[in-house]
C-alpha cells in the first residue's frame, strides 16, 4: 500500500523534473547499455567464430611462419617455400591434402573499372579446405596448375565490381601487370566479423609465384588429416620436420606455428573474453558514476524539498515512510535508467552485430541481471539521501525556506 503510494509520488517527482531526471540517469543508461551491448556482441562474435571454425572442420591444420597463437610480440620469420610443401607431402604420413597459399593485394582492371582485392595463389584442394564452391564456370585444371597459366576465379565481390550483372566467364582482366582469363566465379559467402569473405581472386599457385609475387615463397599451408583422432600426432610430426628443415636448435622456440582449429577457436575466444571483461569493467565504472550521480541529485532533491518533508512529518508521516518515499524515488530513477539502457544496449548490439555480420545472441539472464543491478544501484546510492530526509527535524524542516 505505502509502496504503491511511494511509487506514485516518485513518478510525480521524476516527471516534474523530467530534464534533470534524464541527465541524472544518463550514467546508469550508459553503463547498462554498455553491458548489454558488449555481452551481446561478444557472445555473437564467439558464436560466429565457433561456427566458422567448425565449418572448416576438426581435421584441418594451419601452418604459418611466425607465431599467431603464442603470446608476445610477433617475430619476423622466414616464409615457407615450395620445398617445404613437398617435404610435408612426402614425409608426413596420415595427411589427406596439403594446400599451400600465397596472398597479395592487387588492383584488378577490366575495361575502365578497377578494384583492389586480395589475390590468392592456390592449388587444387583449396576450395574444399575453405568450403568455397563455384557459382559459375569451372576451377583450375591440372595443366593450368602445373604450367602456371594466367587464369583466375573471381570472388563474388570483384565479379560485381568489375562486371556488374554481366557474365565474366571468358573475359580477360588485368591483375597488376598480368593479363588473365576468368574461368569461374565463386558462390557468395557474405560478410563475417567485419570482413567481406567474397573479396578475393584465385589463381593457380604457380601463376601467383611467377607472375605476381616473383618468388618461390609460400605464405601459409593448409593440411587436412585423414583421421581427426590422429591430428595431435600429425601436428607434432609437422613441427619436428619444420624445426629440422628450418634448423631450429633444441633450446630455441618455433618460428612457425602449426595450429588446429580448436586452438584457433580457443585463442579467438580468449581475445573475446578479455575484450568483454575490459568493457564490462568500463561499464561497471560507468554504473558507479551513474550511482553517484543519482545520490548527488537525491541529496539536492532532499534539500530542495526540506519543507515538503517537514509538512509530511507534521501531518503524521513516520521516518520509515519518508525514507521509503525517497528510496523508491532513487530506485525508480535508476530502474528507468536501467530500462532505457537495456533498450539502447539491445539497439546498439543489433546495429553492431549486423555491421560485423555476426548473429545477435541475447542472453535473457544478462537483461534480468542488468535490471536488478540498476535497481541495486538505486538502493545503495539512494539510501544516504533518503536517510537524511527521514532524520530531518520536523520543526527545522518546516522553518526551512
Amino acid at each position: 500500500m505505502m509502496l504503491i503510494e511511494a511509487s506514485r509520488l516518485a513518478m510525480q517527482a521524476i516527471v516534474r523534473n523530467a530534464f534533470r531526471s534524464i541527465l541524472t540517469v544518463l550514467g546508469v543508461v550508459i553503463g547498462v547499455a554498455a553491458v548489454i551491448a558488449m555481452v551481446a556482441i561478444g557472445q555473437g562474435t564467439t558464436a560466429e567464430v565457433t561456427s566458422q571454425v567448425s565449418e572448416l572442420g576438426s581435421d584441418l591444420l594451419l601452418i604459418e611462419p611466425g607465431s599467431i597463437v603464442h603470446s608476445g610480440p610477433p617475430r619476423p620469420a622466414a616464409p615457407f617455400s615450395d620445398r617445404d610443401v613437398d617435404a610435408i607431402r612426402r614425409q608426413i604420413t596420415g595427411l589427406d591434402t596439403v594446400s599451400p597459399l600465397v596472398a597479395r593485394s592487387a588492383t584488378l582492371i577490366f575495361g575502365n573499372r578497377n578494384w583492389v582485392s586480395t589475390v590468392q595463389g592456390v592449388e587444387a584442394p583449396y576450395l574444399d579446405v575453405v568450403n568455397y564452391s563455384l557459382a559459375a564456370g569451372r576451377f583450375f585444371q591440372d595443366g593450368e596448375l602445373r604450367s602456371g597459366l594466367p587464369v583466375c576465379v573471381l570472388g563474388a565481390t570483384p565479379k560485381t565490381e568489375l562486371f556488374g550483372n554481366g557474365d565474366p566467364i571468358g573475359a580477360s582482366i588485368r591483375i597488376r601487370q598480368m593479363s588473365c582469363r576468368v574461368i569461374g566465379v565463386l558462390e557468395a559467402k557474405g560478410a563475417s566479423l567485419g570482413q567481406d569473405r567474397d573479396d578475393l581472386v584465385l589463381t593457380p599457385l604457380r601463376t601467383m609465384q611467377r607472375r605476381i609475387a616473383g618468388s618461390q615463397d609460400v605464405d601459409m599451408i593448409f593440411a587436412t588429416v585423414r583421421d581427426p583422432a590422429a591430428i595431435a600426432r600429425v601436428q607434432a610430426d609437422i613441427e619436428a620436420l619444420l624445426r629440422e628443415r628450418r634448423r631450429i636448435g633444441p633450446q630455441e622456440e618455433d618460428d612457425f606455428d602449426v595450429a588446429d582449429m580448436k586452438e584457433i577457436a580457443t585463442m579467438l575466444g580468449d581475445i573475446t573474453t578479455i575484450l568483454t571483461g575490459l568493457l564490462a569493467a568500463l561499464a561497471a565504472i560507468s554504473l558507479l558514476v551513474g550511482g553517484i550521480g543519482i545520490m548527488n541529485i537525491m541529496l539536492v532533491s532532499v534539500t530542495e524539498r526540506t519543507r515538503e518533508i517537514g509538512i509530511r512529518l507534521a501531518i503524521g508521516a513516520t521516518s520509515a515512510q519518508v525514507l521509503l518515499q525517497f528510496l523508491v524515488e532513487a530506485v525508480a530513477l535508476s530502474v528507468i535508467g536501467g530500462v532505457i539502457g537495456i533498450a539502447l544496449g539491445l539497439g546498439l548490439a543489433w546495429g553492431v552485430t549486423d555491421w560485423l555480420g555476426v548473429p545477435m545472441v541475447v542472453d535473457p539472464r544478462i537483461i534480468v541481471l542488468a535490471f536488478l543491478f540498476s535497481a541495486a544501484v538505486g538502493v545503495v546510492f539512494g539510501f544516504v539521501p533518503a536517510r537524511r530526509a527521514a532524520r530531518l527535524d520536523p520543526i527545522e524542516a518546516l522553518r526551512h525556506e
Partner: protein, 235 residues
Amino acid sequence: MMDAGADGAPLIDLAGVTKVFGIGDIAVHALQGIDLQIRRGEFVAIMGPSGSGKSTAMNILGCLDQPSGGHYRFDGVEVGALNRDQRALLRRHFLGFVFQGYNLLSRTTAVENVELPLIYQGYARAERRAEALSALQRVGLAGRELHDPSELSGGQQQRVAIARAIVTQPEVLLADEPTGNLDTARGREIMDLITTLNRDEGLTVVMVTHDTDMAGYAHRIVRFRDGQIERVDAP
C-alpha cells in the same frame, strides 16, 4: 453547549513543563514551568511577545518537540514517553496543523494536498478523494479542488490548509498565526471558519496569534511572557 468530554479529564494537560535549548552557560530556558489544561471542545488563544515561549509551547503541544521537564499528557497519554514514530502516529490521528505560511505542497492540486494525511492513514484512493472533496466543501472551496496553490488567493490557500488539517477528523486543531499573512477581512473569514468548526463540530482549537481581534474569537486567552504563563483571560 459543551462537549460531553468537557466534564471529564482535560484533553491536554501540561504540568510544570520546561524546555531548555542548549546546555551550560548558553542554555536558553524557553519554557519555565507551564501549567495548562485544555478540555475537549475548547477554543484557546495563546498570545505573547516574540520570544515569550509560545511557539515552543505550540511545538510541544503539537508533539513536534519534547518537553525537557514536567509532564504533557494528551488524552491521558504521557507524550514524553513516546518515541519519534509514536508521536508521528499521534499527530497523524489526533492533531491537525494550520500554519501562518499555509505550507501547502506546490505544484500539487488543492484536493491532492488535502488527501495527503489520508495517504499516511492508509485510505484507498477513491475513499481518500471523497473525504478530501467533502473537507474542501466544508471550508467553502467547492469548485477549486483542482487548482494549484499558486492559482489560489492567500485566504483560499489557508482554507485548503484547514481542510487538510480537519480531513482526518482530529481531536485538536493547532493553528500558528493562521491569519498572520492575511488582510483583516480575509482573516475574519478564516476566524469565522475556525469558530464554526469549533462550535458545530466540537473541534478543540489552540491558536497562537498576535492579533487581539483574532484572539477575541477564543473562549480563553493564555498570555505568555518570558517562558511562563503571565495570565489567562476571558475575552
